[in-house]
Amino acid sequence: MAKKEINYLDMLDALKMLVDKAEGKEKSELRSKQKEFIKQVKKIIAFDIEKDNEKYASAIESLEKTNKDIESAIKDVNKISHVLSSITNTMNVIGEFV
């Protein structure tokens, strides 16, 4: 299985950009997702998870999808609610092995 990598800091930068654009309830919800994202990523790094397994590959795939959703929402803030559910889904996938 090919090892996939993702740049967590670039993804976080995109998420921060989206938080800056969001307002009101969506802003605070995104902030809380951002916090969760940081915590989960720190766990992935700390546990030094084996990168050759399927669960890791599906987590990276899910992160990549969320990253695309974030980038799309930066261009169109109406998609923020979709990003919120996308992050929730990714955090669940990561939560399965950390």
């Binding site: 800091l9 940081i38 790094i45 700390a46």
Partner: protein, 305 residues
């Protein structure tokens, strides 16, 4: 008779030329010195930064937990997660993890010191001491970091013995070449592992360090949000936390990539130095590039202090 004298003179001249060619040139000596001095500086900078990263991680985690608890009702007991966080303030900067990295840096430093001894008028005793220190630091490396086997370590020990023998100048260059050759892969491996640690684009330590800063920044931003209408006491603590987080996150663009780059340049300069001895061609391109990136790290560190 005259014919014999002429022959002896020619022979002496030939030996002299041979000895000059076989001895270390000024350029090679300069290469050793520049490399050694810059490598020592780089190893000091990176070990200091590693310790600073660990201390800042503890400080940022503690500040964030305290900041998050400021507006919580006092009767709320610590959650299970908070208790875990308090017990693990250093995160991936565990003392054992840092100690392994510091040993790798110490090996590079002792290698640089050995090269400096070889380029100076160090006594045989001083050379042996520098060699022992290098060999000892290699033996202390973890299995993932160690690339030198017993044979290579012995070869270095033997090469140093040649310095005390006859035809010192004649043998000196061969000995240095042998030391650089035997150590090349070891130094390269340490450089690869260390540069990865400092690389914010995927390095385990650097990425966690920045994420810890981002976590604190987020907590501070929440408290500073005008819509949250937090009391002034909390806002002023949040402002200090914000500054602490920003200062450390800034390293993502400055100190950390520069250290990672300077370590990779050290690897390249080591190769160039070996070539300088192997092929008699002396260039300073990579050694100068290495020296310049180390200078950049120094500048950033001075600004960020």
């Amino acid at each position: 008779m005259n014919k014999n004298l002429f022959f002896i003179k020619k022979l002496k001249l030939a030996i002299l030329i041979c000895l000059i060619q076989c001895s270390i040139t000024q350029g090679q000596q300069r290469a050793l010195q520049n490399f050694g001095e810059t490598a020592i500086l780089m190893s000091n900078l990176s070990s200091n930064e590693l310790i600073a990263m660990r201390n800042s991680t503890i400080q940022m985690n503690l500040t964030r937990i305290r900041l998050d608890n400021l507006d919580k009702p006092k009767e709320d007991s610590q959650t299970k997660e908070e208790k875990v966080e308090y017990k693990d303030l250093d995160g991936v900067f565990d003392i054992n993890v840092i100690s392994i990295r510091l040993k790798a840096i110490a090996t590079i430093r002792s290698y640089a010191k050995l090269l400096l001894s070889l380029s100076s008028d160090a006594s045989q005793k001083e050379l042996e001491r520098a060699t022992q220190s290098f060999l000892f630091s290699v033996e202390n490396l973890s299995s993932e970091q160690k690339k030198m086997d017993e044979k290579k370590l012995n070869a270095i020990g033997e090469a140093i013995k040649l310095f005390g023998g006859i035809f010192t100048e004649h043998k000196k260059k061969d000995s240095i070449k042998s030391i650089i050759l035997e150590s090349k892969e070891q130094i390269e491996l340490l450089c690869d592992l260390l540069s990865k640690d400092f690389d914010p684009k995927g390095g385990r330590l650097a990425t966690t360090f920045i994420l810890t800063g981002e976590e604190l920044l987020l907590s501070a931003e929440e408290k500073l949000d005008p819509n949250e209408k937090k009391p002034e006491k909390i806002r002023s603590k949040a402002l200090l936390s914000f500054h602490l987080a920003e200062k450390n996150i800034q390293k993502k663009e400055t100190v950390l990539p520069e250290i990672a780059k300077s370590i990779l340049n050290l690897k390249q300069a080591n190769l160039e130095m070996y070539e300088a001895f192997r092929s008699e061609i002396y260039t300073t391109k990579d050694i100068l590039k290495f020296a310049n990136t180390v200078k950049a790290v120094q500048d950033y560190k001075a600004i960020l202090k």
